[in-house]
Symmetry: C2
Subunit: 414 residues, 2 copies
């Protein structure tokens, strides 16, 4: 099926908001093998919304309209869809009950203006709303269909996966289950990674239509994600096929794979520390708190994270961490920082970073020169050197990512 996306809101046209909803919907459509050839953004203007919907219906089988379902006078998506359908709005008793329930749960009186959210085009089917006040709509128009969802990302996503995608599949007569699994990797660049996976991609190509698909998505702070998607007659066979494909990709990428789906490097590290009953300390120079901040982002980090030292001034490295006086941008200094912070904060394991984030050279070394180290109680410390190309913020992000990965690898062996 061909699906178009129409995002509604004058704030989008003024550039006050970046339209992430369209990207989320497009990604989900692509994952499910549905074509999306056009996306349109239009303001809170009745005639223009109607025109955008009509143009879309001429080109595609379905339109997903995002936004303009709120209670204010600016929210006119319902009226525009009704015009395109050639029907009137009517007050829906189920939607009204839902609104009343929501407001009474907040012990608030419902403002008159919210009543509009219960007005739906005649012939539309409601998509139930779990958290917000605006129901979604499934609106048949001739052979086509317009889906309307709120602009609030969480509400939109819920309706997309629970109602719209299944409805689109049913319309296309497609009974298949689409399932994905994302392998998260770190330490291999996107180009090298797709080179490594290329033979597997070719094998899947030879399998032809219906073979699993593999997509790559790079992120500076998280590494490259490898998403495997399969289409199968039922959930059980989808999961079996995913498991086979996951094993094949894991065999190629081995321990560059650090997690699955929503796992992050810091959540994986947290789980490893818990399993092994170890506590962590960090010492940071050029990363300046980025690593500590990522560790603390995980709820429950207090079970294993002692704390960190941002030793930005060399004097802090000498006096607090016991780094020997001399150059501080070196493997030796990184090791001394890791060992020093481990002892100072009474932790079992520690990581440390030192380097030149730029833009200027330091100690005669180029921006991007980075040294990382781990220290583990009762074991020899390990250090590594690398060069990161790019801006000050890129050097810091990549440095933090690689330091976390060094820690993960160390914990796997611990």
């Amino acid at each position: 099926v061909r699906v178009e996306i129409v995002a509604i809101g004058t704030e989008l046209l003024l550039g006050q908001i970046v339209d992430t909803n369209s990207a989320t919907i497009a990604d989900e459509l692509a994952r499910c093998g549905m074509d999306c050839n056009f996306q349109t953004r239009v303001g809170d203007n009745h005639a223009r919304i109607v025109s955008a919907l009509r143009i879309g219906l001429d080109r595609a089988d379905a339109i997903i309209v995002c936004g303009g379902l709120g209670p204010t006078q600016d929210d006119i998506t319902r009226e525009a869809i009704a015009e395109v359908m050639g029907v009137e709005l009517r007050r829906d008793s189920m939607a009204l009950e839902h609104l009343e329930r929501i407001f009474s749960s907040y012990r608030m009186e419902m403002p008159e203006s919210n009543l509009r959210q219960a007005d739906v085009p005649a012939g539309a089917v409601l998509i139930p709303q779990l958290t917000g006040t605006a129901p979604g709509l499934i609106c048949p128009v001739g052979d086509g269909v317009i889906y309307a969802v709120p602009g609030v990302p969480a509400e939109m996503e819920e309706m997309l996966t629970t109602a719209i995608i299944p409805d689109l599949q049913a319309r296309s007569g497609d009974q298949a289950v689409i399932a994905s699994r994302t392998l998260r990797t770190v330490g291999i660049g996107e180009a090298k990674l797709s080179e490594l996976v290329a033979p597997r991609l070719e094998a899947l190509d030879r399998e032809g239509a219906g073979a699993p698909t593999i997509a790559f998505l790079a992120n500076l702070a998280e590494g490259v994600k490898v998403r495997i998607t399969v289409k199968a007659p039922d959930k059980a066979s989808a999961n079996r096929r995913l498991a086979v494909e996951e094993a094949a990709v894991r065999e190629i990428l081995t321990d560059a794979v650090y997690g699955l789906d929503d796992e992050t490097l810091e959540s994986v590290i947290g789980a490893l520390l818990r399993e092994r009953g170890l506590t962590l300390a960090v010492a940071e120079s050029f990363t300046g708190g980025l690593i500590a901040s990522r560790i603390v982002a995980i709820p429950g980090a207090s079970a294993y994270f002692r704390g960190g030292i941002v030793a930005y001034d060399p004097e802090v490295k000498f006096s607090l961490l016991g780094v020997p006086r001399g150059p501080v941008i070196s493997e030796d200094a990184a090791v001394a920082m890791a060992e020093g912070v481990r002892k100072l904060l009474g932790a079992d394991v520690a990581i440390a970073t030192t380097g030149v984030a730029g833009p200027a050279r330091e100690e005669g070394q180029e921006p991007g020169t980075v040294f990382l180290a781990t220290a583990l109680s009762g074991a020899a410390s390990i250090a590594t050197a690398m060069t990161v190309v790019g801006s000050r913020s890129r050097v810091r992000d990549v440095g933090a990512l690689r330091a976390l990965n060094l820690l993960r690898r160390r914990l796997l062996l611990a």
Copy 2:
């Protein structure tokens, strides 16, 4: 003038990339008082690009096309525009020279495929390219015009401000200069802020067309930006009018204004520390390195930043920072942390954070409970308490922002 934006790229339609270019262009058009009623995204498909351009030219005076000017076979924007113009592509000698110059400056031979970037629709005017390989294009079509710019944000922005906006102004017969100034604020929410500025907005409304406009833009990590835009016959009178309006807004918002245009809270703090010849240390609990990381993001921070302690475990607060044993989520603990880190790292001034980021309660206190403190050599310490509503990451972001603001205010008095 009415301008539409067409963003080109299959990766946009697959949701692999969020289209930030359209938002940047839309923001600049709005700032210059030009209407943008529709934005379209379309993939690397000749017929669909042609159709999107034709639909746009029917509705608007000008189209800005973004992307598809690269050297690969996927980059077909030039061909699509030529078809809409009803002309052929011809190889442009200036564009060719530019390409040859770029490759020879890299000491690289130019790949055959890059020659395509010198092919432009007959009748198009080139927009010179400073950094990349693809020139921009100004393509007249009847009474309308199509502008083509590369998808690389920095290259797009440069062409937008230096060539496209002036050309649009010239076409509309508008000789006016448009200038903006952004006041950055912290500590007042967007709703309260617009309430405070409302009387000024009403006064500007009464002035009628040609009066300065004021727009608000909220950001969790940076506070609310207040952008003043004026349109005037020349640059000097634009600047005079901006100065008047800036003074009026500053009188309303007083010291909630921390900076102008590209200044950040951390760059302003850096400048204050330099001016006063003071050094800084930070002690963080629930913010866990966020504050240190923002301080270190400023190039040259080594001139005033000593370092930080992420005292996540209470034991680190007691043993390293000298916080008295007992509850650590309190004003007293925040003050002890600030004073402790100031002395430990030998700094003149320090800030500290302690609180409950959530999701669980701690020490019987609700998530969002936050205590901040500053310590200054030879002066009494100052602490403050606040409650932040929202997720763990929101509590941490807002806590860091408010702590930085507390430091700024302290430095202003120092």
